[in-house]
């Protein structure tokens, strides 16, 4: 018997494709790229000079724009995503009276904060007494929430771990409602230089919007991006009881480790396949019920074929019939926040019964063949269940199983 899912009843986001989930979903289905030449800082000395960027993070209602503008950028992003998600869930006014927890994927928050402050001329990094709360703890304080708060990180798989942890808290009855998701603002001089030193980034500076091309033969690395998404999660029965709109249900989660290398994915696809199989088993569904795979697919030479092998391990011959696409072809790679934003692609697929495409997929890499790639244009398909893969540095493999709401 399948155990009850966890309902998604509110979504807040800011990412290169929009500052609402509806805008993001529209752009995903339209196959638009959010990647462009960097404008927020001087990138002239960097090898990669483009990224998926957010222009302006909107101020939530009730906050004076000038006050919001003075906040640190991560605090702006979190406040926007959290307050928009809570308002849309209908729980904004009740937020302080609920046991409302936060599980936030955020992997390099101190590195980024110290960098931003240091590049602006400050010396915070050399004064530990100033580091008094995490971004998640600050969000809890600002929103006057009463539940527990946790920051989790597994590099590019952070968002899925946040969903998995929040689901456990809800199942255990530790919270009544949980804000879960992930944020990342690593599009910065040192962030780009660091990933550049790892030779992980595309250097297609003359055509940024063409640079993120998962599964394509001409891919040359991933494209960094920034943003995040937070979701209001509730037990399905609770959400139904209060008449909440349910966007989708989280029904399964799987996680494994390569135990191979801190950066390079294992050439053995079995651990990644294990994460997918675990998610299916946890959801109590068969691979034959899956109508969409949101691939991790970052557009790197090693990662994409590895994921293709993992999918074929799990789905066998069916792999050629299950639609698969990569959100990162349009958003770029939001690093820790990638998994969180990619849930929107699954919800878009459920709501529209159409699969967002992998754009820039002009010539399929033969090593990524044998899958049902949705190339360049959205395609109508029936989707009841979706899997969302996210793999990360440190050998992390995760898979989230989602179900269309009834």
């Amino acid at each position: 018997m399948r155990k009850p899912g966890i309902a998604i009843t509110g979504i807040g986001t800011a990412n290169p494709l929009g500052v609402s989930w509806e805008e993001t979903a529209r752009n995903l289905l339209a196959g638009r790229s959010g990647v462009r030449t960097l404008t927020r800082f001087d990138a002239s000395r960097l090898g990669t000079r483009f990224a998926g960027q957010i222009d302006t993070i909107p101020a939530p209602p009730g906050i004076v724009a000038a006050d919001f503008a003075r906040l640190e950028r991560m605090d702006q992003l979190l406040l926007w995503c959290a307050s928009d998600a809570l308002r849309r869930s209908g729980l904004w006014d009740k937020r302080s009276s609920l046991r409302l927890g936060i599980v936030l994927g955020n992997g390099g928050e101190w590195l980024r904060l110290w960098e931003a402050e240091g590049l602006a001329g400050g010396t915070r990094i050399r004064n530990p007494a100033l580091d008094t709360e995490t971004s998640a703890q600050a969000l809890r304080r600002r929103l006057e929430l009463n539940g527990p708060v946790l920051t989790v990180a597994a590099a590019c798989a952070s968002g899925n771990y946040a969903f998995g942890e929040a689901r456990r808290w809800l199942d255990a009855g530790w919270v009544d409602v949980c804000l879960a998701g992930a944020v990342d603002l690593t599009v910065s001089p040192l962030g780009l230089a660091g990933f550049g030193s790892l030779r992980a980034l595309s250097t297609r500076n003359d055509a940024p919007e063409k640079a993120s091309r998962p599964f394509d033969k001409e891919r040359d690395g991933f494209v960094m991006a920034e943003g995040g998404a937070l979701y209001v999660l509730e037990r399905v029965d609770d959400a139904r009881k209060r008449g909440a709109d349910i966007h989708a249900e989280i029904v399964g989660f799987g996680a494994s480790s390569d135990a191979f290398h801190l950066i390079i994915p294992s050439s053995d696809a079995q651990p990644a396949a294990n994460a997918m199989s675990q998610a299916l088993a946890d959801a109590g569904i068969s691979y034959e019920q899956v109508g969409y795979i949101n691939a991790h697919a970052t557009s790197t030479p090693i990662g994409d074929p590895g994921e293709a092998r993992a999918v074929k391990m799990v789905f066998g011959e069916t792999a050629s019939r299950v639609p698969i696409s990569s959100t990162k072809s349009m958003t770029g790679h939001l690093i820790c926040a990638a998994a969180a934003v990619e849930v929107i692609a699954c919800i878009a697929a459920f709501n529209n019964q159409a699969i967002p495409p992998t754009i820039n997929l002009d010539e399929l890499d033969p090593e990524c063949a044998g899958l049902c790639h949705i190339a360049n244009e959205a395609q109508p398909r029936r989707v009841e269940f979706a899997l969302s893969n996210s793999f990360g540095f440190g050998g992390s493999n995760t898979c989230l199983a989602l179900q269309k709401s009834e």
Binding site: G107, G118, T134, V149, V152, L198, A259, G394
Partner: protein
């Protein structure tokens, strides 16, 4: 659930434990010693660029493995939760300084993989061949409570036979000069706990009532874990919105 009586909301067994205290000046020697690992060598490349907190965490981990007599045990199906605090303060200070003063300088490729919040857990996964989940938690103030909450949550999930919980911090926190060199005597502290589902006299519990005492750091926890005693002892951490986490050790 009778919350007034203080009945545990969740509980798991602490099956092994270890701690480590590593002055910064000794890190490189310990790094080399770890690679030898008492006759069961791990590739030096796994720890060559690890943060000092990760080195302390691995030392605590191997101490726990040795104390439990688990040298030959496989942890393949286990999970890892790593909870460092303020990773990268010294190296990012140095990097920022070089980036701002030398237009030709590029950032080291070792910072992102070794000084992100997941790095401690991932390194443990690598050296112990743990193929279950591995992830980092906390990273900042009150990270011990974060670690206990996440470790307990993972242990009671029933998805792995056990979870390695490794917690680390610098105490005192380094105060680097402009080049990243610490201006104070920095010591890395770490604790490793093997958490298994079920109950025992050594256990980690989530209890509904808030703790009376304040949350302390890894340095104090390391002393608590290492201190030999026949008396039952408990260590408590408040968890906002939930109650308290209590580590009881014999």
């Amino acid at each position: 659930m009778n919350q007034e009586a203080g009945k545990a909301l969740a509980s798991c067994r602490v099956a092994a434990r270890g701690s480590a205290i590593v002055p910064l000046a000794q890190v490189d020697a310990i790094r080399a010693k770890l690679a030898q690992n008492n006759g069961k060598p791990i590739p030096l490349k796994h720890v060559k660029n690890s943060d000092e907190q990760t080195i302390a965490g691995l030392l605590a981990l191997f101490e726990a493995v040795r104390a439990a007599g688990w040298q030959e045990r496989s942890f393949r199906d286990w999970g890892v939760v790593g909870a460092p605090r303020f990773l990268g303060r010294m190296s990012v200070t140095a990097t920022l300084n070089k980036y701002l003063t030398d237009p030709r300088y590029s950032v080291s490729p070792h910072i992102i993989p070794n000084q992100s919040l997941h790095s401690l857990a991932s390194t443990v996964s690598l050296v112990l061949n743990v193929q279950g989940p591995n992830y980092g938690v906390g990273g900042g103030p009150r990270h011990v409570a974060d670690a206990f909450l996440a470790g307990l949550s993972a242990a009671i999930s029933g998805r792995q036979p056990g979870v390695w919980l490794v917690i680390s911090e610098f105490d005192p926190e380094p105060i680097p000069d402009a080049t990243g060199e610490p201006t104070n005597d920095v010591i890395a502290h770490a604790v490793a706990l093997a958490l298994e589902p079920g109950d025992g006299t050594n256990r980690l519990q989530l209890l509904p009532k808030a703790a009376g005492n304040v949350s302390l750091g890894v340095a104090e926890l390391a002393g608590f874990v290492a201190e030999p005693s026949t008396q039952k002892r408990a260590w408590q951490y408040p968890v906002a919105g939930l109650g308290r986490l209590e580590l009881s050790l014999n």
